[in-house]
Symmetry: C2
């Protein structure tokens, strides 16, 4: 009881700055359109036309948009110009299959670990490298090895355990296909009823209902759609059913950059698990590129400035 009192007295709300579209995002949107165009078609003329169109869209992008809102428009354009609804379909399947083949090995890692929950969190963050929006090459096995021992740049693990213990159920915002298998591993360690949220339609390699089922998530969670096609959780693009869950969830775990971009200054507590893969997000979080993060946005500052000293 005394602990809880200290918790209430000394804790301030800290919110991160609302993510907006930065100048650096504009060339990145062109690169994303090129990558997605190439996934959809081999027709160079079609891809050139796509880049012409995206180039012309730049002037109309409101800079106060979060990047996934603009991403939504860019990937709509990819679908419109190429006529391909899910350019990443094959590579998503392949990433899910690769992740599933690693599943037994990853479970063994957890079973041999002195801190199963923390190891599962690290594995879930390692899965976040399977992000085909950022255009970085990755080797999932190497990344798992690295992230299993990497120091966290932000580490609100005590708060995570505290909220997890109290929570009756958890809302888990998925990010990429393949990463979804790594999410399953974390969900299995949470030991609580979990609802897993996916995108409404295919966008980049983000996880949809079909991808989630292919990843085996239906065995460990209820799967729902956010109702939005944006590659990140933008509340005003989500449907009412999702919003009700979001507002009333005991605990929310949000995976990846796109969800963080949409929710960075949201008015409720959310745990963000991600690897900072681009300079813009790293800067917003006050960390370095490639840092890993377990962040509670409304997190609690102790008199000593260390959140981990609290219950």
């Amino acid at each position: 009881m005394r602990k809880f009192f200290i918790y209430l007295i000394f804790n301030e709300i800290k919110k991160f700055k609302q993510m907006k579209t930065y100048l650096d995002c504009l060339p990145c949107f062109m690169s994303q359109a090129l990558r997605a165009g190439r996934m959809a078609t081999n027709d160079e003329k079609k891809i050139k036309f796509l880049l012409d169109e995206v180039g012309c869209m730049i002037k109309d992008i409101p800079m106060e948009n979060t990047p996934p809102e603009t991403g939504d428009l860019i990937y709509q354009k990819v679908r419109e110009v190429t006529g391909v609804e899910d350019p990443y379909k094959k590579i998503k399947e392949s990433n899910i299959n690769e992740a599933l083949s690693l599943y037994p090995k990853l479970k063994q890692l957890i079973n041999n670990s002195p801190n199963k929950l923390l190891t599962a969190i690290r594995i879930a963050i390692a899965g976040n490298v399977i992000d085909l929006g950022v255009g970085k090459e990755f080797n999932i096995l190497e990344d798992v090895d690295k992230i299993l021992v990497q120091e966290f740049a932000i580490f609100d693990f005590e708060e995570f355990k505290y909220q997890l213990e109290k929570a009756k159920s958890i809302l888990y915002l998925g990010d990429n296909s393949g990463e979804s298998v790594f999410d399953k591993i974390l969900i299995e360690e949470l030991n609580k009823p979990v609802t897993y949220v996916v995108r409404d339609v295919p966008v980049i390699n983000d996880v949809t209902v079909e991808d989630a089922v292919n990843s085996g998530l239906d065995e460990v969670a209820e799967i729902i759609s956010s109702g939005s096609s944006a590659p990140g959780t933008i509340l005003n693009l989500c449907n009412d059913a999702f919003l009700e869950r979001f507002n009333n969830a005991d605990m929310i775990i949000s995976k990846g950059q796109g969800n963080y971009e949409g929710l960075s200054n949201v008015d409720r507590s959310v745990f963000f698990l991600l690897k900072a893969k681009c300079a813009v997000i790293a800067s917003n979080l006050g960390v370095k590129e490639n840092d890993i993060v377990l962040l509670l946005n409304n997190y609690r500052i102790t008199p000593h400035g260390k959140s981990s000293e609290i219950p």
Copy 2:
């Protein structure tokens, strides 16, 4: 005489493919505009307007253009929108001064080397990392150390020595400021009269007459302008005085990517010294990114396919 006969019999002309604008160049042009805009001004709105304009230019870029031809248009737009003629002025001065401070150490490296000419070539290629068009970070001292021992992906050194021995004078196409100091070191080892060619006006951090003089090149070479503002040697943008020199030169040494992009399939022999810093150029050369190259374009193939076995 026999050697010369074999040389004539067994050698075929090999030309590399004309560089054109690739789809990958289009997002890169946006990134270059952003970097140059930021060099020119802190006014985010002006930079956004610059990117709006460059975005709209994408659809009008002829894909058969070489990249420096399009670069010329992009950097003209940077000057027009920001009103700054030479956004890279300060950083060029700083790079030249840093390179000048290394000059004594580099000269010592040459003097201690068993193959002074080859070490000077390596140093001149190391200087090619000072390229602010490609947006890669570099540490010049580290890069010199690396390139002093790096294996060449293409190594037409025997032909280089052969032509150098015969040449009465040499035309040397400069690339970046700072790199120009490294060029001086190679020029000092050539022991022939050298004409050093620079851009007509400031573009990116490319070397101009003023930069060449600040690099001390007036002490070792005649300095002339190509007559063009493109960040590479595009013959149909160059002036007659340069073209006459180019057509009649005994030997031409061309530094860097921009000059290679303009001259890759030119109808005369040119030695290209560069580090392949972008995937598009690496692919055109048939080498890997970050490879170093000493390439004679019209090079001689022996019956064994090895050019270095010839005189």
